[in-house]
């Protein structure tokens, strides 16, 4: 073989190797670029929210920018003092904690009945529960308001809490999880003289912590972020929740975005903390319930 042939073979091999590398790396790079662009789009409004909350008021309407160049921490103090936020936090905490507690108790009881007990009409009743999961909130909004008004609950915690104490989604989530727990455990406990309620309390619930965590986080996020229902059933400013507080704040200042965003950042923090604390169990709970494949 001549030297020329060897060189051309070598260069062909190098070109082939390069082409292979490029054909492998090009889609990967393209995909990663796409992902980063997507991630950027997700982060962009969030970053904007934080940046705006730290801007000086006079720069509110200046051309927008992404990274904070000023750090007006005082905006947070002004936002906090602009409305009775302590009261709003208290109201929202009472509402969210009551809803979470209520849902954990009532949904586990109902889910246990659907998962473990046989009684006439069980399947039909469960399907009816599932059906209510799909009803958009605004469909029942007006009659629900009329009932709450008829009960004299306007401007009370009952109005904020009671309609949210049970959720079809919660019952569904827990029922699916309970079904994954082997019945032999129940039977062994029953043989040992444990009551049915004891089985639920001592066997099923301790083994269902991931699903209970998932439900707790879901219901907390929903309650904490709820806007429309508290808006409708409260008129007294002292009964309002954080989300309504932000809206009131908006009106009071003719939308001073810096303060509004400072309030918004503050209102989002508890939800993020709750999720970070329970995220591992939350994902486990979602993965092991009926939402799996």
């Amino acid at each position: 073989m001549s030297q020329h042939d060897s060189v051309s073979q070598l260069s062909a091999a190098i070109v082939w190797q390069l082409e292979r590398k490029v054909s492998r790396w090009l889609p990967k790079t393209f995909f990663h670029t796409l992902l980063l662009a997507g991630g950027f789009v997700v982060v962009l409004p969030f970053m904007w929210m934080i940046t705006t909350s730290l801007k000086p008021l006079k720069l509110t309407y200046s051309p927008p920018y992404l990274f904070p160049t000023h750090f007006e921490w005082h905006n947070y103090v002004i936002a906090w003092k602009a409305a009775p936020f302590l009261r709003f936090y208290l109201n929202t905490t009472i509402m969210a904690v009551s809803i979470v507690t209520g849902q954990l108790i009532l949904c586990s009881m109902a889910a246990y009945a659907f998962a473990r007990l046989k009684f006439p009409g069980r399947d039909l009743l469960f399907l009816v529960f599932l059906g209510t999961m799909m009803v958009p909130f605004h469909v029942t909004l007006i009659p629900s308001y009329l009932i709450v008004k008829w009960l004299g609950w306007i401007d009370t915690y009952q109005a904020l809490i009671m309609p949210r104490l049970v959720s079809a989604f919660g019952i569904f989530l827990l029922r699916q999880y309970f079904l994954t727990i082997p019945t032999e455990l129940d039977e062994a406990a029953l043989l040992d003289g444990c009551s049915r309620l004891g089985v639920l309390w001592r066997i099923i619930l301790p083994l269902s912590q991931p699903a209970l965590s998932a439900l707790a986080i879901f219901s907390f996020l929903f309650a904490w972020n709820d806007f429309l229902w508290p808006l409708i059933v409260t008129n007294d400013p002292l009964m309002r929740t954080i989300q309504l507080g932000l809206a009131m704040f908006q009106g009071k200042y003719g939308t001073r975005w810096t303060y509004l965003m400072a309030g918004t950042v503050t209102a989002t923090i508890p939800a993020i903390i709750v999720f970070l604390i329970g995220q591992k169990r939350f994902i486990e709970g979602i993965a092991l319930t009926g939402l799996k494949g």
């Binding site: 992902l35 991630g39 997700v42 962009l44 409004p45 969030f46 929210m49 927008p64 920018y65 992404l66 009532l106 949904c107 009881m109 109902a110 009945a113 998962a115 473990r116 007990l117 046989k118 009684f119 399907l127 009816v128 529960f129 059906g131 209510t132 799909m134 009803v135 958009p136 605004h138 469909v139 029942t140 007006i142 629900s144 009671m162 309609p163 049970v166 309970f178 079904l179 994954t180 727990i181 082997p182 019945t183 039977e187 029953l190 972020n225 709820d226 806007f227 429309l228 932000l246 975005w257 918004t264 989002t268 993020i272 994902i283 979602i286 993965a287 092991l288 009926g290 939402l291 799996k292």
Partner: protein, 298 residues
């Protein structure tokens, strides 16, 4: 079926005699059923019933539906189109993202895994406020695109319409959908994916032939919950859409606030439910087809 299997017979026949047999399930269900009947089922039935009543008249008529059709047909179709489009885009994005997070390892995957969840925590009302300025003619998005020389700020993108609304819905819902779809993907055994890969299947093929078919239930739940949520959202279209057409939820609020017209508002609500119920029926049929009880009872 073996005792360790998650689908082992999991329903125990309630042991008891006579009336006591009924008592325990009844006691367990009573609070939930009572609350659901009083604060959910009754309002729902009442809403449908009231949609057939005209103010000041006792007779049951279709007048509210005729009026709703005459005044809001365009908005009804607009709501359906935006909801379908947003759900479809969010579903495609969430499946792609979930597949990536299921298969990829490394720093970028971890970072993406942490970032994508952010919109879950932000309530619709805050998303609406954010998007209201973010998508404005001289908002951050337009300025950013202008700096990349993709648009001219003298003729900025007009996004206070279906485009901005769809963007906002996708931004908010894709994260939640990804969470549910990813949980489904995580339940798939690695051996299936490795087997496909060893036979030469590339990522798109693995997604289409393994991940999606084996996670149809979680994808369906994610799609239906997102669709229902989008159809029922008020604050986002209220704050983003300038002019017409707008969504049914805004029309309901408008009808009640300015006209006190509960009849047409209820008719619009019922029409929305009918649109959503197609998704509900599909889901219920799917659940029934999977024989929710028979399968578990083995």
């Amino acid at each position: 079926m073996s005792s360790g299997s998650p689908v082992a017979k999991t329903t125990i026949e309630h042991r008891g005699r006579g009336s006591r047999e009924w008592l325990f399930p009844l006691l367990l269900l009573l609070p939930a059923v009572g609350l659901m009947l009083a604060l959910y089922a009754y309002p729902f039935v009442s809403s449908i019933y009231r949609s057939f009543l005209v103010k000041g008249e006792g007779a049951v008529t279709l007048a509210n539906y005729a009026k709703a059709r005459q005044l809001y047909l365009r908005d009804i179709l607009f709501s359906l189109e935006v909801s379908l489009l947003s759900t479809t885009i969010a579903a495609v994005l969430s499946i792609a993202l979930a597949a990536y997070l299921r298969m990829a390892t490394g720093r970028i995957a971890k970072m993406v895994g942490a970032v994508y969840r952010l919109p879950i925590f932000i309530p619709f009302v805050v998303v609406a406020q954010m998007m209201n300025t973010f998508l404005a003619p001289h908002g951050l998005l337009n300025v950013f695109l202008a700096q990349l020389h993709l648009i001219d700020l003298k003729a900025p993108l007009q996004l206070f319409n279906w485009k901005g609304l769809t963007f906002s819905f996708v931004w908010k819902q894709a994260a939640f959908m990804t969470l549910i779809v990813l949980s489904g993907f995580k339940m798939i055994d690695d051996s299936y994916i490795e087997a496909a890969r060893s036979l030469g299947a590339r990522l798109p093929r693995v997604i289409v032939s393994i991940l999606i078919p084996m996670s149809l239930a979680s994808i369906s739940v994610a799609v239906i919950l997102a669709f229902t949520s989008i159809m029922g959202t008020f604050t986002l279209p209220y704050m983003i859409i300038a002019g017409e057409p707008t969504t049914v939820t805004v029309d309901i609020a408008h009808r009640v606030t300015y006209f006190g017209d509960y009849g047409v508002a209820n008719a619009l609500g019922t029409i929305t439910y009918l649109m959503v119920s197609f998704a509900a029926i599909y889901y219920l049929r799917y659940t029934v087809r999977k024989s929710i009880y028979e399968v578990q009872e083995g």
